[in-house]
Point group: C2
Chain length 349, copies 2
């Protein structure tokens, strides 16, 4: 007789023929050794650990990162953004192919806070960067998905470290979509490239405030065929617009130029601009100073993010805030007085 | 025999003829009643309470503010900033005199995080705004001193509330000095006026990045005598520069104009621009929406400031951070990992 005990869940029946072969996980040292040897499969697996939410994975990921940091830093980190329609993917494909043709090892990462694997991010759209995707000297990794902008930034910066440890000497960080991702990408790169479209008058309308001021070079794309005259006119316009801005701290004259992905010289010219920037800023000390400042800024920004997270995720605080908001909005309660009362109890143990 | 007990401090000898008459402090309700009646002496005293660091004063100040809030909001709040040499004080004096001449009651406040009473702030330099200072319909108050920018912002916003309760219908917030004060002033006003100098080519060099994008109107000052042609040329230059920026959310066409403080029409024109802005944005609902958003933003910004203050002022945290900084700067420790370890223990009790 079979007695079924009510309330106790029965195990799912398991077929004896269905044996799942679990992959043996590498040790931290094995991960690091394989990454340093340039093993892209292990590199990919390690990046997946970085992106994981399981606490076991996070512990190992942190160990791998700390060890890889000693072998990181030897790349030039390029941020690439562009107005919609500027042909960013096409440019990165042509530019990347040029880089691998001169012997560079290139990693392309994306920062896209809105991404879910299926839409928007690199390789989600299978037609993007087809040639580069199969180039053995290029490594393309889509944006981690399902994270806040701060989370994506963190994962991307940690991925840069692993890619550098794996020997990639040019790292491209691509912004995907429109939003705040430009500022975040700018904060993690040595050189920030802005791709613009030729055209007249309205072209700045599509670009977020302040982006132009962040650029280390401004490139007008699609400068070929019957578009050449317009591209040249746009170049003059942007040159005069740039003169209105104060000079950057790095003392670099931001070049404005046109580019056609069909002309090798034209693509090579972009790399020459970047190489000249690297040379100048390494000579005048800005390059390393800038990286050190970026790390310190990242540290404080991250602490401040975490402080906010720990405060706002507290249920008691949330309830109190929700009560206060309508009164503050209506001008009946001082935001200052209310703020002090709220934060008083939030302290280091 | 007189025995002097060593070690015990003797009281100072007090002349029986010197009786200090201590002013009786008003009750909160008395303060509020006098402010609502437009008593400027009491208004000044209440602002001094706001600026006080004594906890007894702060308690009363908060009570006064909460009560005055019910009668606040009925003014137009103007932010005025300018490049060095644009003649801000001269402009405010002329503009202020015009406003009182048409029956307006005007309060002029300053935001100057660097100010100590003796240097820089309004009335510190006695030659500034001489006429306005003795105008019975104008109330001028220097920037609170010895505070951080966040502190100055807080005091200034609370002072706005008291001034509005006292019946002032135009509040000018002046930025003093160069720095971040523009952003802070922008965050507390309805209309932001940028004063520029005529001249050629270099004039944007003196102005902080992003300031031009914050302006609701751009006025070229000193458009008189043999400066008129240059001012008109500058007007055309700025007009075309402004076209490069995307439109503001309030749908307002940012006007660029010239102004001479010697011409009444010219000063009146600025007020007409502001009145038109007020009319348009009240009609399309932006005015009140913008104020509500400002209050909510102030609330969150203030909470975030307080969170940082409570974290960084903690000695344990400070010691740990100081140990970590050189390692982070050198790229040996991940700013992310270090940050998490630090913030873990900072929580709401």
């Amino acid at each position: 007789m079979i007695v079924v005990q009510q309330g106790i869940p029965q195990p799912e029946p398991v077929s004896p023929y269905l044996k799942v072969r679990r992959k043996k996980r590498l040790s931290t040292d094995e991960y690091v050794a394989e990454i340093l040897a340039g093993n892209r499969v292990v590199l990919s697996q390690a990046i997946t650990l970085i992106e994981s939410k399981a606490s076991k994975d996070i512990v190992i990921a942190n160990q791998i990162i700390e060890k890889c940091m000693l072998n990181s830093g030897n790349s030039i980190r390029l941020g690439i953004t562009g107005v919609p329609g500027a042909g960013k993917s096409t440019f990165i494909e042509a530019f990347g192919k040029y880089l691998t043709s001169i012997g560079k090892k290139l990693a392309v990462l994306a920062v896209d806070p809105s991404s879910e694997r299926s839409k928007g991010s690199i390789l989600g759209d299978k037609t993007r960067m087809e040639e580069l995707a199969v180039d053995s000297n290029a490594f393309i990794r889509p944006s981690p998905s399902g994270l806040t902008l701060g989370g994506v930034a963190r994962k991307t910066q940690e991925t840069i470290i692993l890619c550098e440890a794996a020997g990639f000497d040019v790292i491209i960080i691509e912004t995907v979509g429109v939003g705040q991702s430009e500022t975040v990408v700018k904060s993690m790169v040595d050189f920030f490239l802005l791709l613009m479209l030729s055209g007249a008058g309205d072209e700045l309308q599509g670009i977020k405030r302040g982006i132009m001021e962040m650029a280390d070079a401004l490139i007008i794309t699609k400068a070929d065929g019957d578009n050449i005259a317009r591209a040249t006119a746009a170049k003059a316009l942007y040159k005069s617009a740039l003169q209105l801005f104060p000079k950057n701290e790095n003392n670099w004259d931001v070049p404005v130029d046109t580019c056609s992905v069909f002309l090798k010289d034209s693509v090579e010219n972009i790399w020459n601009i970047i190489s000249e920037f690297e040379k100048q800023t390494k000579e005048n000390g800005f390059f390393n100073k800038h990286r050190a400042e970026q790390s310190i800024k990242t540290f404080y920004d991250w602490i401040n993010d975490l402080l906010k997270e720990s405060f706002y995720s507290n249920k008691k605080n949330e309830t109190k805030i929700n009560k206060l908001l309508p009164q503050i909005r209506a001008g009946k309660v001082s935001p200052y007085h209310a703020g002090i009362e709220l934060v008083k109890r939030h302290q280091t143990k």
